[in-house]
Structures are given as C-alpha cells and as structure tokens.
Symmetry: C2
Subunit: 270 residues, 2 copies
C-alpha cells in the first residue's frame, strides 16, 4: 500500500494573504499563509447530493469515502465512472444501480457535535451493532507512542498554517496512509475512499486522528471495521458507549509519555 | 444582559468513566471525567427537522439559534410555543406560519469543512452581500487581549475535560454571554438563539470563539450582523474572502502578546 507524504501539494493548498500583525505593542504588515477552503459539489447519477467544503486534495477518494459512509454506494464494482471538474469544483459519480434515497432523508439527518457531517445516526448504530468487531489485533504502548509521534511529524501543514486535522491509517508498526484536511471528517473520508477503491482490507488496521473522539468519528471507525481508534485528543461519553458496544479499542490523550485506554483494553499490551 | 458563568451546570455535563492510564511506563486504573454528548431532535410544527449532538445545556436557545440560522424561523413573534422533553431529547417548536422548506433542501446542503453544520452556502452568501456591515465600532489591542484572556479563564470545563469549544458575545469592554459545547457551532447557535429570544441587538457586538475561523462560522457572524469575529485560532482563506465582502473585521491567532488582523483593520486601534 502507498505510503503518502502530502508535502508536494502543500504549496497549492496554502494561499498568501497580507495582514496586520500586533506583537508586543508593535504593528507590522505581514504576508502569511492560510489554508484554502473550496466547495466540492458531488453528483451521484446526475443527482446533486451535497457540497463539501474541503482543502482541495484527494477529491475522488474524498467523494467515494463520503458516499460510502453515507450508504449511497455499496460495492466497488457498482462504480461505473468518476469525473472530476476541478476548476468548477464538481464531481460526477456514476453507479450501476440508482441508490435508494431514504424518503425525507434530510429530516433524519444528524448534525453532529464535533467537526461533523450529518449521518443517519440511529440507523447507523443499529446496523453496526449486529456485527461486533472481534479482532485479535493488539498493540503495545511503545507502538502507540511511535505512531502518534509519526503522525505529529507528518503534520507539517499544521505547523505552517495551523487549522488542519490529520488522520492516518496504520498497522501497529507503521503509518500506511496519511491525510490532511480542514475538516477531520474529510480526512477520514479520503482514507476510507482510497481503501474502498483499492479493495484494501481495514479489519486489521488502526485509525489515528488528531481530533477529538466524538460519536460520529467513532461510528465512522465502526463502519470501517477498524478495531482501534487512537487520538492525541480526548473522547466524549457517547463515543465511549458506542465503542464498547461496537467493540472498538479507543485510546486517547496520547501526549508525551502518557495515554488513556478508554475501552476494550485487552488489545493493549505493555 | 445576563452575564453567564456555566460553572453550576458542569457537574451534570461531565460523566465519570473508568479507564486504564499509561504514564511513564506504568499502568493504573483511573476514574476520569468525560463530556456527555446527547442527541436533541428538533421538531418544527410537528415536522422532524434534525438531530443535533450536543452537550445538553441551553437547549431552547440552541434550538432557536439553529432554526434561525437555517432560515426556518423569521421573527420572534412567530414563535407560539417551545416544549422541551429533556428526558427523551426532543424539542417541539410551534410557529404561526409554516416555514417554506426549500424543495430538495438536502441536495443543496453544504457539509462544512470545520466543525460544521450544513448551511445553504451560496444562498446565504448572496443574501449577506446585499447588506454589507458598516459598523463604526472599534476595538483596541488591549481590549482584544483582555477579552481573549477572559474567555480562556471562563473555559474551566475545557480545563477539566478538554474537547469543548467556547464562544462568547462581548462588547469591546466585557464579555456579556459565554457558552460552551462539544460543537463550536452549537455554542454560536445558543448565543444567537438567546439574543433572538431576548430581542437583543447584535450590530454593536463582538463574537469571540476558541475555534478556527472557517467560512461557516464567518457566515454565522454575517447572519448575526456582528462587525467583529475574534478567535485565538487561525482563519481559512475562504472565510477571509467572505469577511472582506460582508464587512467583518476578523482577528485571529490571539495568543500571548500577539494577534493578527486579517480583514477590515480600520476598526482596530492601537
């Protein structure tokens, strides 16, 4: 599997702006870099589905990951064509079968607390609970520290501009795929989309994120069937309840020489 | 206007969980506090609109702010009744006129990059640009530092649990209203809802946030008609373009003795 470093595309994503800076009582004019934020409108079989605000990279994987998470595409073989019009910010996905749009889908949408995209909350949970994750994968404390320091190192875009979220897919030994976006859900979608398109198995993988562990990112991990969700940030109570039920090991607050194992600690060895 | 300190409700919002903690090679069992995350389903004239995931406080203001931002309620006098069933997480709003739901609203929704709720992006911008904000309110550097240190001080829930966002409404002299939630949009909605319900003018106020300044929070500031948006975090390029067009002074990266004035700097005095 591809090991990605996004360095090459950073120059396209950062834009220069001129600002007034105050520092210790002195004003100066400065040119600084800010992250771009572009709208991407997704069409599925010519039906306009949604407009995502994103940073502009990995748009096909982002689109496929979003549609798959939302249950709007099923199998990879169903995808007949993906056409991106980058200039206009439009992407057209053709699938063999017209997806069944739930009646009044809007009125069932959940607006999430965190950095959230809507998901059909309760439906999603119901479906997940029928297939508990029972992986025997385990990880050691040293591996957790190694992976987290690795994702932090890769976050050079964050260092330059702040205001982006980083997500990675890993084995206990190494990071396989690293994605950055202004929305941490976008970064997760890109990873899911890439793995879905490449037919890459997730059941023995780890999802790493720099963001908070809310119920929504937990549900995404559940849909991906990854047994581990690891963050340098903390978790909400609802996410932990779901993690127990779905069978995901949640590890958070990974900073310096400490971390917390919130759920299913039997998968973490000393 | 009410000056709020949310201290009293923190004990309800934090939940104890037992976790395994790793610190410098040693495992311990610990009981720690995590933030609760509850679903609140909003009904408008008996139509199910949305389920918000939130922390569970200020639910009426949150609901009204959300509906007002989404353009689903217009005037305060239109609200006939608000009934909250806190146990079931349901809230029922009755308005005199049935709101005009845009046809296929779902398919026009924008999923935002940041901690985002969907908004009807382009429509919103069009409407905002027709009425540029032309406030003569100004702020000094000392006032910016004072307000930011004040919002940081009030963020005691953040200190206890991390993973919450804080938003405040202020004059240049003081913070008037302070709200905390797991979603920073929820906190903005609570403030907008409270001001809308109380008939409180926003055209001479400042919106302060601890979150990033993305185009969506900028659009919310635009709908509120506040001339200032101030954050300790940074801004995206799209937010700055919109801020120029709408006429909002965006101040970010307020940390220690520095800050950046991104747009409309004429409102900031030394």
């Amino acid at each position: 599997m591809e090991k990605i470093d996004q360095e090459e595309s950073i120059s396209n994503i950062l834009k220069k702006v001129t600002v007034r800076k105050m520092f210790k009582g002195e004003w100066t004019n400065r040119t600084i870099s800010v992250v771009q934020e572009i709208p991407l409108t997704i069409f599925l079989n010519d039906k306009e589905i949604v407009t995502l605000l994103c940073m502009g990279s990995h748009l096909e994987a982002l689109t496929v990951g979003f549609l798959k998470f939302e249950g709007l595409i099923d199998k990879r073989e169903d995808i007949r064509d993906i056409t991106l019009d980058e200039k206009k910010g439009l992407i057209f996905v053709k699938v063999d079968k017209d997806p069944v749009m739930e009646k009044n889908l809007l009125f069932k949408r959940v607006i999430t607390s965190g950095c959230g995209k809507g998901t059909i909350f309760y439906h999603a949970i119901d479906a997940l609970l029928t297939r508990k994750i029972k992986s025997s994968l385990f990880i050691t404390a040293d591996q957790i520290f190694f992976l987290m320091s690795n994702i932090n190192q890769k976050s050079s875009l964050y260092k330059k501009s702040r205001g982006v979220h980083n997500t990675a897919l890993a084995t206990p030994e190494e990071i396989l795929l690293f994605r950055t976006d202004i929305g941490r859900h976008n970064a997760v979608d890109m990873i899911y989309g890439k793995c879905f398109l490449d037919g890459f198995s997730l059941e023995d993988k780890i999802l790493l994120t720099t963001g908070r562990i809310t119920s929504e990112v937990l549900l995404k991990a559940g849909k991906m069937r990854v047994p581990f969700l690891i963050s340098r940030n903390v978790a909400t109570q609802q996410a932990l309840t779901l993690a127990q039920d779905i069978g995901i090991t949640v590890i958070g607050d990974v900073r310096g020489k400490k971390f917390i194992v919130y759920t299913n600690p039997e998968r973490v060895k000393k």
